[in-house]
């Protein structure tokens, strides 16, 4: 894709994303009229001097502290998972990789289960114990997987994937044992693993934002190297890429982002797998387009899914179910299409 058309594509997607954010903020179970919602947005967010006559305190709170943070957190979560997916698919040179491929999710889930079961009273840095343990679990898992597969100074990608699967299965089993032994907490753990943005607000956003920003910067500064690594590791070395460093950098950045996000939201699948795929079909494999577009598309996709999750039924449906419900069939469709094209990109 040409440089110019990429800029237009990014600008267009940003605009589309903002429109969807706006529409999703207006949508919800609570009956706040279209006009009222707009007035609240203009007054509270943009601080315009608009009369707030006839608008209840409750409506203002719902828009400002329930819907808005959910839309923002939805965007952050979707965007994060999508760029981590793109990064992982880049270093593994495998279009089937997603942010959870190395067992981050099982580690986080095990941590969260421990937190839910044992109910440690105190938190740390504004995190409650479940969130904190999920974050720690995710990081410990990746550290373990990484060290298992390390040979000398190098980390062969195939070994990394396999040890990721092995560790992941083991941790999942450990979590099952915990669940069976603590049946009273089963529901809560189950819900956590399905992923949801329910009940999250600005404080969670502020908590994960630094990790997401740091990780995103690290990923965005690896674009050229990732492109070259897609053409083969040996070729990348011969073209002057410090392959081992880039791998570590992407692994670290992705783990940081994913661990932070899922410790708050629980496990939300398919976003990291499907979104980079779709973007690659539209914009080609170059990461300089892939990364920003995955960020915008992933964010937008999750906002839509979350809006569906909270407004489709009387009970809130975990958003992880919605993403899987949309993402699964779509992925099958992609696979069929690829089988015919014989190409993964």
């Amino acid at each position: 894709m040409k440089k110019g058309s990429r800029k237009w594509l990014v600008a267009g997607s940003v605009l589309l994303c903002l429109i969807i954010m706006y529409l999703c903020t207006l949508t919800g179970v609570a009956s706040i009229s279209f006009w009222d919602a707009n007035r609240i947005l203009l007054h509270e967010v943009f601080h315009l001097d608009i009369s707030m006559e006839g608008i209840t305190e409750g409506s203002i709170t719902i828009i400002q502290n329930v819907r808005l943070p959910r839309v923002v957190l939805g965007f952050l979560t979707g965007a994060s998972l999508a760029i981590c997916g793109a990064g992982f698919q880049g270093i593994f040179k495998n279009p089937m990789a997603d942010p959870f491929v190395l067992g981050v999710s099982s580690g986080a889930a095990l941590g969260a289960s421990i937190g839910i079961i044992f109910q440690f009273g105190s938190g740390f840095l504004g995190m409650n114990s479940t969130t904190l343990l999920a974050f720690v679990g995710a990081f410990l898992t990746i550290g373990l997987v990484y060290n298992i597969s390390k040979i000398g100074k190098k980390v062969p990608m195939a070994t990394l994937l396999l040890s990721g699967i092995a560790v992941s299965q083991t941790l999942a089993a450990a979590m099952s044992i915990l669940m069976i032994m603590n049946r009273q907490d089963m529901d809560q753990i189950m819900f956590w693993t399905m992923g949801s943005l329910n009940g999250k607000g600005w404080s969670q956003i502020v908590m994960i934002l630094p990790y997401v920003i740091l990780g995103t910067v690290l990923l965005f500064t690896s674009c050229r190297e990732l492109d070259i690594m897609l053409t083969g590791e040996e070729a990348a070395i011969q073209l002057g890429v410090n392959v081992e460093f880039v791998k570590k950098k992407v692994l670290f950045a992705s783990t940081l982002i994913t661990a932070a996000v899922i410790s708050v939201t629980g496990i939300i699948g398919f976003v990291g797998l499907v979104v980079p795929h779709v973007v690659r079909m539209i914009a080609g494999p170059k990461h300089r387009g892939l990364m920003p577009l995955s960020l915008i598309f992933g964010g937008t996709f999750l906002i839509i899914c979350d809006t569906l999750a909270r407004s489709m039924a009387v009970w809130e449906i975990p958003v992880g179910i919605i993403t899987a419900l949309c993402g699964g069939p779509f992925f099958v469709y992609l696979l069929r299409k690829m089988k015919r094209g014989g190409n993964f990109s």
Binding site: T231, Q238, V241, S345
Partner: protein, 412 residues
């Protein structure tokens, strides 16, 4: 000019326990075009991997432009050395221009993005390799020859001082093989880029390289000009087979012709067979009889004919005459002497004319059995003299006529 671009001292390297390179010591000077040859598994590609930083050494050092290779960062090395691999597959939809631009990577960083200069260099590289016409096409959709040109363009965009080629033409047809080799030669001559190329095809190496290094068992076995390295003993040693070496008349470079790998069953006793020939018709027959262990003599052959060439190659005793001169009685006397104790005298597929009819003089007085190729009768330019001669011989002893060489070989 005489700067050492690559210097290997006692290089040893391998995979796991297996040591492929044992002790390589050599150097490549600036502007040289060096071909690396050797049979499969002698470590040619391993050497390329060692230079390009893919494989650490177990022993010894490699110096690139005077700098110790193991101390170089990938980026620094890539500014000096570019690699063109055998064939290069990319699983993603990059355009040709994207791929060529990757060659600029060693000069780019977070602070320095690709600028006008880089685009100009990429443009130039694509022009030099004739790839600019498909710059926007996907690399995956190109043919093998086009892809190899794109990879060459990428190497050129790296602005290297040294280009390493690992069997750059082995997946290509001859048109594209020559095209790629000519491009590399041009780069070598015009840009003064030093070239080290692993080549499977000895004739290609002989034709394009100024210097050839032959590896054997992980060490340098021979090193010199094509004429010095491509000789019978080196090549037989390298390939463990029978082959022939001749001078290519067009390029004046040695050329090898592979002959056979399987050894024929040796004749129990060294039976003596004399072959009368003189054109190109008996080449294979001479070779096969020699291979089977017969004592072969040949005569009278004109210098420069194919039959004469093979005698020179194989060291077969022959009576020779100058090109395009009629065979004299003196020569035939020499020939008859050679035939004296021959068990079999074979007249091969050779056109007879007045100038070589002399070859058949005196055969009737010999003790050996006479075999005569029927084709010689149909290419008779003697105006009946040949038939007359055969009748004269036939009166004294039996002539066995045969249709092709295999028939005779079976009978022997």
């Amino acid at each position: 000019m005489n700067r050492e671009m690559l210097k290997f001292s006692h290089v040893a390297a391998g995979y796991g326990e297996r040591e492929v390179l044992k002790d390589i010591t050599m150097s490549v000077k600036e502007g040289e075009f060096v071909g690396l040859i050797g049979s499969n598994g002698t470590g040619k590609s391993t050497l390329i991997k060692c230079i390009s930083g893919l494989l650490p050494l177990k022993n010894g050092t490699i110096m690139i432009c005077g700098k110790e290779n193991s101390a170089l960062k990938n980026r620094e090395r890539a500014q000096m050395v570019a690699v063109v691999p055998q064939s290069y597959h990319v699983g993603y939809d990059f355009t040709v221009e994207d791929i060529v631009m990757m060659g600029r990577n060693p000069y780019l960083s977070l602070r320095k993005k690709e600028g006008t200069e880089d685009y100009a260099i990429v443009e130039e590289a694509m022009k030099a390799t004739n790839t600019e016409e498909f710059r926007d096409r996907l690399y995956n959709e190109l043919s093998g020859g086009e892809r190899q040109r794109v990879i060459l363009a990428r190497a050129i965009a790296q602005k290297p001082r040294i280009i390493l080629l690992d069997e750059p033409t082995s997946a290509l047809d001859i048109h594209h093989q020559i095209e790629v080799m000519e491009l590399i030669t041009r780069l070598n001559q015009e840009e003064y880029v030093t070239v080290l190329a692993v080549l499977h095809d000895i004739n290609m190496a002989s034709r394009f390289c100024q210097r050839i290094v032959m590896l054997q068992d992980g060490a340098v076995f021979a090193d010199g000009t094509p004429q010095e390295v491509i000789n019978h003993s080196n090549m037989e040693r390298m390939y463990q087979m029978k082959l022939m070496i001749r001078k290519n008349p067009l390029f004046h470079k040695p050329e090898i012709v592979p002959i056979r790998v399987m050894e024929e069953e040796k004749a129990a006793t060294r039976r003596h067979i004399h072959i009368i020939c003189g054109a190109d018709g008996a080449v294979k027959l001479i070779e096969e009889l020699d291979e089977r262990g017969y004592e072969v003599t040949v005569g009278v052959v004109n210098q420069g004919s194919g039959d004469w060439d093979i005698c020179q190659e194989l060291g077969v005793t022959c009576v020779e005459a100058e090109p395009f001169t009629p065979i004299t009685w003196e020569k035939q006397a020499e020939n008859l002497k050679l035939m004296e104790d021959a068990e079999v005298i074979l007249v091969a597929d050779v056109p007879f004319g007045q100038s070589n009819l002399m070859n058949l003089q005196g055969l009737e007085n010999l003790s050996g059995k006479i075999y005569f190729h029927k084709n010689a009768l149909s290419s008779d330019h003697t105006g009946g003299a040949l038939v007359k001669r055969l009748e004269e011989i036939g009166r004294v002893k039996k002539i066995t006529y045969f249709g092709d060489h295999d028939e005779v070989l079976r009978e022997l």
